[in-house]
Symmetry: C2
Subunit: 340 residues, 2 copies
């Protein structure tokens, strides 16, 4: 694994740079700089409280000191490569850096990057490229010794990956041998392993989750599976459903963003009443494996003061009839208590 | 398109050769022979009433006359290539035949077959290889002029592809300009086009369906989308869910096999009461696009006499609170009436 990294987040840091933020917050990297050509001179810690600080710079050439890797920290809908990033990726490779990318577009399939990487002896790690031995699920995830918890959501970008990492950290702090099961690019970058479930052959969606659970499930007491999308997402529900049935979780943590009224990017699709999600997830899970929504994780990043956030959390808890909190704002203790 | 074909179905014809049977029954091919090494000397019409007859032979060398293509007519769970089929595929290519395959294993990636095919100037059509321009759904399928009907199922192999083709045929007979939207290998082989939705990148599952609906939806009055799997299938529910949300169907036809008690190949997963499927499909569809189960298609192939089959159909209709029939045994008129 690389140690010191620069994180590319042009024009999206910090509000639309989910991957960058996750890597900065949870991975074992030392972050040398964030690249955002719209914010040179700003500081990471100004935007992401509680993380190690680093400068925001305009391009790879401005990153201070040597770095081992450039991490592509943004993921546009569709997962394409933005050609405006090419000079930075080129510069990184020419400086002897590996490049880590979670895009659908594989850097290894890009002729210029592949050729440059070979010339400079660096690795292009396409996190979203699945391995070749995936297959269909066998319905066996419930056989493992560990308890399995799955984070599920009302929408994309409500904080499932964050909730997963926070729950694992808090569970470990409480003395539980917990392990994250990463299913998306950010989780995989943070953990250093995992199947990119949104990129596998659709028939193998549940199988890709099951493979990870069988691999880790007898070595830990608690697996926390990173959910994806939402079961009513017009584009991504397939992945959500495959993870739900592939994980065969005992317990679900429902993640939601306070104030979200429509599916992100699909404004014609309203967010249904939150209690409907509880029914949908539980009734859809049950024929394969009984699962219960035992806690809620409410993302109140858009709520200004703590009192209003606390009220929103209490309201959310009442609605789903289970303990809830904002894991970042108020800590994960209530959720850990609910899943243990 | 090819005209005269041989259909490979070794050791699986007719009870486990869904693809072969579909091609024989619905495609515009002339079937010269079915290959099944366990049934040489038998006749196709002995097993599949109402189709054009053809001999069953032990190997490609025994196919009478010249054929244009060999169709791989069986699809084991997982979609692998059975090495025992290699001599027949080799012989077909050497005889100048194209080979049509719906396996997950691509013939074009097989060094021997690719090289032989190049030498003999024949095409290997890997039906399940998706095209490169697929992307995420935009939630736009409901914008087309056509009514959209989707066949959904309680399990795999209950007759969704058959129901789709029978409904399209019956609708055309009733004067409706209907078009099938094929989503699986058999449907694509029959129709000669289509996206193999179970083989696309999981994030693009709904998008692959939407692409087809947008392509055909303003040229016809009725689209009948071929469903896949089941919304509670331990392995394949992701594909089912993606099709449900990608199609944005107005009406659903619920397909079931009389007497089925557990998910095919997953005996630990019981088939829930059929009315639960109605609730699950409708409640899962609604947040994206309201859909109603308006008819049922019961596969009574395992029921011996017509009276018992009629009773089973009536029972199924009562359970789902909608008209139902066995489309093969009793015709599709009731279903066409319900969806028009």
């Amino acid at each position: 694994m690389t140690d010191r990294v620069a994180v590319l987040a042009h024009e999206m840091f910090p509000d639309r740079s989910k991957t960058a933020n996750g890597v900065i917050r949870y991975a074992d990297y030392e972050v040398a700089a964030v690249l955002d050509r719209e914010r040179p001179g700003e500081r990471v810690a100004d935007h992401l409280p509680g993380v190690d600080d680093a400068p925001v710079v305009a391009s790879f050439a401005d990153v201070p000191g040597d770095v081992d890797a450039l991490v592509i920290g943004i993921a546009p809908i569709g997962g394409g490569f933005d050609e405006s990033w090419r000079p930075d990726v080129r510069a990184a490779i020419e400086a002897g850096c590996d490049v880590v990318s979670g895009l659908h577009y594989f850097l290894n399939d890009d002729e210029e990057f592949a050729s440059l990487a070979a010339d400079h002896g660096v690795e292009l790690w396409d996190v979203r490229k699945p391995h070749d031995d995936l297959t269909v699920a066998g319905g066996r995830s419930a056989d493992v010794d560990a308890d399995v918890v799955l984070t599920v959501g009302t929408d994309c970008s409500v904080g499932k990956m964050t909730a997963t990492m926070e729950i694992v950290e808090a569970a470990r702090d409480a003395g539980i041998d917990a392990c994250a099961i990463p299913t998306g690019q950010t989780g995989i970058m943070i953990e250093g392993w995992g199947n990119p479930v949104d990129r596998v052959v659709s028939d193998f969606t549940a199988g890709a989750v099951e493979e990870m659970i069988l691999e880790k499930g007898d070595d830990h007491d608690l697996l926390v599976v990173e959910g994806q999308g939402s079961i009513i997402h017009p584009a991504y529900s397939a992945v959500t459903c495959g993870i739900l049935h592939g994980a065969m979780a005992d317990k679900l943590v429902l993640c939601h963003a306070a104030g979200r009224e429509a599916i992100h990017g699909y404004e014609d699709t309203a967010i249904p009443p939150v209690e409907e999600y509880v029914d949908l997830y539980e009734s859809l899970a049950a024929p394969v494996h009984e699962a219960e929504v035992v806690a809620g994780a409410l993302n109140t990043v858009d709520v200004d003061d703590d009192a209003a956030a606390r009220a929103a959390v209490d309201d959310f808890a009442d609605t789903i009839d289970a303990p809830a909190t904002d894991l970042i704002r108020f800590g994960a203790d209530e959720v850990v208590e609910a899943i243990r």
